[in-house]
Amino acid sequence: MTNLTISRRNFLKMSGAAVGALVVGQMLPAPIAKAAQEAGLLDENMTGYVTSMCEMCVWRCGLRAKIVEGRVVKLDGNPDHPHSRGKLCPRGQSGLMNTYDPDRVLTPLIRVGKRGEGKFRPASWDEALDLVASKMMAIKEKYGSEAMVFSSTHNLSQLQFENLLNAFGSPNYGTQRSLCFNAMIVGNLMTYGMEEPARDYSDTEYIILTGRNLVEAVSTSETGDLMAAIHRGAKMVYLDPRFTRTASKADLWLPIRPGTDLAFHLALLHVIIEEKLYDHDFVANHTVGFDKLVATVAPYTPEWAAAITELKATDIETVAREFAAAGNKALAHNGWRTSNFENSFQTARAIASLNALVGNWGTTLLPASGGHGGGALGLPPQPPYPRASATRLDGVPWKYPLVPFKLGVFQELRNAIISGKPYQAHGWFISRQNPVQSLPDRTRTLEAMGKMDFIVTVDIFLNDTAWFSDVVLPEASYLERYDPLHQIGNRVFIRQPVIEPQGDAKSALWIYKQLGERLGLGDYFQYIDEEDFIRQQLAPVGASLEELRKKGYLDLEEHEGEVDLFHWNTSSGKVELFSDVLDGAGFAPTAAWQEPPMPENGRFYLLTGKIAQHTQFATQNNQLLHKYQDEPRLWMNPKAAENLRLADNDIVRVTSDVGEVNIALNVTEAIRPDCVYMTPGFGHISKGFTTGYGVGASDSVLHVTYTDPISGGQALSQTFVTVQGI
């Protein structure tokens, strides 16, 4: 025990010493260090700075790693990168602990015990890759390509992950997006014809945040921009049943009843239209369906909304008038994980319509800068993909006609694996994702895994999903590998290794190529190695990898021709307050009221939401974040606690329709009396996480699966629970 404590406490120091000794003992510098030396980034002692990109969340901040004798000792934000501007959040700062975590998986693993026993034996890459390829081929031959399910989460190597699954010919692709922001994205697509317009706070005077706890769910640049706007005097209105740190910075915190954000926004639309406070020119010239919106929102008075939201009608009226008065300097944030109720798609539509009414397009709301503008990066040549072998298991588009293929409906995919309808899946390829922790209803996720003949997981840790897998392929961490390039506007950024991969860890670019070749799909992976892949990306723009490595970014030439700011990629070319597409699919064509379910007596709304110290389900094992996190407890209002005769720090049992967990209680005024809250991501069941194992409880155990038929979003807050002392 003592030894464990010492090694844990001094890990950062000791790893440095160990790696340093290793480097000194080598005759020649390792390949990455040698390349970095040749690029002039490191000196003869392998000391210096290398720029790259963070991957502790999906915001992709630029970073600058300080390297001393071949080990990374400090990460700072890259001042040249628009997402970091020289700063990193706590997760970004802790990134080297992620890489130097003693729990890293550093060699391929093949399961030897029963699934879930956690018994594995180390294997060579050749053996592990041959095994994975042979299992995948066997499934393909016996059941067809569609029997292999692929799932991965938003990351830079997703390009090649999708390449692998498309070349393999499977239509079944699960992303995390239906668990996150499908409602927001489909809402924007139906209104603005783009997934997510960009937000500009530089001139903003009035901000409404709905479902966006931006002060705690830190996106370094955007959180900084919001705080700067507040300090400049911008007014911020914040809707949340919890008094979060964002609420503490708000001019007006509205503790709205869960599921009723839609009623609030419909009433704002009502007041702004009723009192003719909207931007007449913008509405007349750049929107369609205003008259239909007028008719739809006519009944949604502030008094109507007050009864539903449990807010004051006067507050709703005031916000509507102030928002409209700010005009094009007002911004209703289009939200993030507003996929909390089945009506969240309507909420996203109402917010999108609200922005259109004040004509803030081009000032506070802008076309997304995206990754696809500017000059075109290249890709290695490859043949066309085979036709997908069957319809998708997740119901896109045959059950969910408006959900984009690349978003999908992950929770329904899981359900189809269990039901075996319309056909039975037999294999699951998972990369950098942890569905055991992320999908609602963990019992069912484990049941789905039980249906599988073969499961392979690519990760840097033995995460909860890897724990139940047959093969685990160890990926190099984000500080140890190249990824495909990342473009923001006209600027291209590189993720490059700042240190040697530890153990046998390999990049995703390498792993997918190796597998592709073993699957007879080598034509889809025509690159020699990671650097060759990036060189082929750079070829059309005439830039060198060496130049890019040194600076960390390169600027492409400006796009020829003017982009029309006031043309949208919708069927009408305008902002669609009324959508023909929605109408045609049989859904409400304008933002309209949809009643959310309510917990009956004695049950609570179960809320989840982010904290600044952790990203989803991936960082709870990080010792530095563990050091500075609050203990994950269940929040409950003192009134509710008194009724249940519960006290602070009591251990309670939380029960939903699908599961139960035990957790310590945090009695706090910072939550509505009809809600309880728990931080997502805790309650890991993999013993491969020695720091995170057993800490807190998992919200996924409790979440009931509810899917919005329009956006495919999982209604995360529609789960109701009872709480009792034990």
């Binding site: 950062l12 700063k87 990193l88 700062q93 008094f243 005024e669």
Partner: protein, 276 residues
């Protein structure tokens, strides 16, 4: 009153209204300074959630070594392991430290701490990331603070900026720059919308115990020997810290804040006259 007011070169300005409690400063500091998992150089202080639902407020602020102009810790240290350098940094020399912990008791801000799991525990405290300063970089906490709540620069600039922010934003901050007069003045300044007691900040007096220590050491015959001198210094240090009750301390701080405010008012009046 004490007479010790040297101007350090560096200083912090921490704006409580900007802090979002994200703890990037905590993590950045731990990495930069290889702080063990069981000790810290920065704490997150705060009011907690105050009030009754739904009328609530909450403020937080990172808290680390104040870098006193006349550090009590340095005065209490019998071996010279703690010293204030020409940049205003109160530095710690672990090679000199004998682990006596006198500094822990002497510091009115309760800053020096140690990892008691270590066999030979050393003092853990902020040194303004001296290594980074040597490379022309800001301290790790200030460099990374996402909302820019921690500013770092020349001490007098930080103080001037604190005054400017208070004067130009009436009603936003209380009229108290924490660290300006506390313990005889420091190189770390805080501005806040709520009184510092509510944030859980220690409320020391306006005079450093180091001042009383000097009265003792200068007035004691050499025949008692260096050890006795140190011990009496320590005794008086602890006594002083204990005796200067929070009430007296607050009064002293408020007095000095009032004096500073009337000085600022006089300056403003003079400026107005000039303009007229």
């Amino acid at each position: 009153m004490s007479t010790h007011t040297t101007n350090g070169k560096y200083g912090f300005l921490i704006d409580v209204t900007h802090c979002i409690d994200c703890r990037a400063c905590n993590v950045a500091c731990s990495v930069q300074n290889e702080v063990s998992m069981d000790s810290t150089r920065i704490w997150m202080n705060g009011t907690g959630v105050v009030g009754k639902y739904p009328d609530l407020q909450s403020f937080t602020a990172p808290f680390h070594c104040m870098h006193c102009n006349d550090p009590s810790c340095a005065s209490a240290c019998t071996v010279g392991a703690l010293t204030r350098d020409h940049d205003g940094i109160v530095r710690y020399d672990e090679d000199r430290c004998i682990g006596c912990r006198y500094c822990i008791y002497a510091c009115p801000f309760q800053v020096p701490n140690m990892d008691l799991n270590e066999t030979m525990p050393l003092i853990v405290k902020c040194d303004m990331c001296g290594d980074r300063l040597d490379e022309g970089e800001q301290p790790a906490c200030a460099a990374t603070c996402p909302p820019g709540a921690i500013q770092f620069g020349r001490r007098e600039d930080m103080l001037a900026e604190a005054n400017r922010l208070i004067n130009e934003n009436p009603g936003k901050y209380i009229h108290h720059i924490y660290g300006e007069h506390e313990n005889g003045g420091t190189s770390t300044f805080y501005i806040s919308p709520v009184p510092f007691e509510e944030l859980g900040f220690p409320i020391p007096g306006a005079t450093s115990s180091a001042y009383y220590n000097r009265l003792v050491t200068h007035g004691t015959p050499a025949v008692f020997g260096a050890a006795a001198v140190s011990l009496s210094g320590i005794y008086l240090t602890i006594k002083n810290v204990q005796e200067e009750t929070a009430e007296e301390a607050r009064a002293a701080v408020i007095r000095s804040a009032q004096a500073a405010e009337s000085a600022r008012a006089a300056e403003r009046a003079a400026a107005t006259e000039e303009e007229a």
